[in-house]
Symmetry: C2
Subunit: 323 residues, 2 copies
Amino acid sequence: MKPKIEDVAKLAGVSPTTVSRVLNNRGYISDKTRDKVQQAMNELNYFPNDVARTLFNKRSNLIGLILPTTANPFFGELTFHIENICASLGYKVLLCNSLNQVDKEEKYLEMLLRNQVDGIIVGTHNRGILDYHKQGLAVVAIDRYLSETIPVVSSDNYDGGKTATELLIHNQCQCIVLIDGIGELETPARLRRKAYMDLMEQHRQTPIIYEIAEVFEQNSYIPILNDLFTEHPEVDGVFATNDLFAAALWNEAKKRNKSIKVVGYDGTETLRTLLPELTTIKQPIKSLAEAAIDILIKEIEEELPDLPLETKLPIKLIKGTTA
Amino acid sequence: MKPKIEDVAKLAGVSPTTVSRVLNNRGYISDKTRDKVQQAMNELNYFPNDVARTLFNKRSNLIGLILPTTANPFFGELTFHIENICASLGYKVLLCNSLNQVDKEEKYLEMLLRNQVDGIIVGTHNRGILDYHKQGLAVVAIDRYLSETIPVVSSDNYDGGKTATELLIHNQCQCIVLIDGIGELETPARLRRKAYMDLMEQHRQTPIIYEIAEVFEQNSYIPILNDLFTEHPEVDGVFATNDLFAAALWNEAKKRNKSIKVVGYDGTETLRTLLPELTTIKQPIKSLAEAAIDILIKEIEEELPDLPLETKLPIKLIKGTTA
DNA sequence: ATTTTTATGTCAACCCGTTGACATATGAAA
DNA sequence: TTTCATATGTCAACGGGTTGACATAAAAAT
């Protein structure tokens, strides 16, 4: 069986308390004893049982991460950065792919609570979260409003939407269509649409919006894009609120030999390797991760943290050839 | 503070043991009592502390997942499927992005052991794993040989390499180059190269190999691709052992107005949305996840599991326009 | 020579939930 | 009436590590 402190103590010829003192750097320990203990630990391949420690300390150093799916490169990259930063700070990540399904989100939330996570990073609309936050759980949201008290980190969505739309207008586009996710929720990302609407109004153009469910399945885009081309054959500019939509449209347009200006949103490394010609609004993914973790850890570790309820990070226009 | 069993018991007017009996469906409980207890749990927002349960039961239902990075869409999708299947089976996933760095792998491994994971899925070359497996930890590898006793799940890499190379030959390519990761390790994925070599020999062509470090950073590809085009301007066919390499090459070739046939490997959903024209060998990612978990859970749950040491799943040629 | 500091041991309580042993009390079946 | 299945309670030990209290002893400082 797995060795425990007692075994280490026996082998090192000391008391369990002394081993614990070595492990936690508490009280007085001579170098000689420390070495003996460490050697015994090596010999036995001993590693402290973090479950037992968590139980006593009431700190798991576990962070729950709930997002739609790591299969989407934006979340894949975000997840990478979040986990990476967490690891460097001694936190561990419990991953949850909710696919934006409320029932799954609730199950995941309960799972995380049962596992005594110290905090949760949410990149999906998690209704339930609200209650639990009141119960003292640290929560931070990425691009989602969960409640008035939960800090939100996001890219400057309005500026992104504005930059994208302005670029298309500047490109002399006469019929600019917005392709967006389904618009039931009031998220910060919705500001991309808001900016588009505002700009269109300013330039006396009619906004045209197509919505695609973000189910992250190939070909789910196709029928809606077909509608777009049928109903608006004159389309000559598209702002898609994420790069997958943008790429799907771009490829459909190519098939149809349509000359359309396209701007996407996200600007992942993956996109820039696979489809560098796509002009897009790049989110500072690593910075988003850093900001979210910074806030979450403040919530976890500080008594009366002074939290920024809204953190907006600058976007960057990546010029490809599509606009 | 968080409610515990005792609080539930008090509110429900029963003993802690009875609450535990309700939670674990043990012994006799009347419907009336069960309801009372359940209601008390709801009222208090009580969730059992899985840390305490784990400590007692010696089962955490935690699975460690170690892979290079979820920022790579192949691993992003694999991660999604693994986590998803695990969740449906009552397992939770602790995520580790090792970036293929041995020191990180070792730290992650120790972390997972401390956290009493029931098993580990490894998609990276984790030298240390070997030892721990001997100590009775369930381990399964994806596309890596870790030791003689650790089951490996992979796509049929040889068939994939063969199919890709054959296609290029069939396309009348005269100078077929292989772009591969750096070849220090003997991995199943290396069979893609083996197949290429074999085919080239069979057709009396000279194999030409360029190696790119899989650091997953854009532009790390560029200098090596430059070399390729300078040293072999006659190249007219390329088999890249992953789609990111393939896409990078494809885009560089377009820049140079070179007409080259290209075949990639992986065939993620992301690729097929972003760059559907790329011809590629599609790995059955979901099936890989299923097979790996199936084996791992057998290791965890069965006394004397009869494990397939090598599981090869069929690949599929996805015909785009690049070959 | 005396006080302090350093070093280690013993012991018990605690973290939260689980489980087995045992007692007790119904109501139902034999 | 006796027996048995059902229902619940009490109690203690356990899982592995942590921590505070207290005791003891040697080495260092005064």
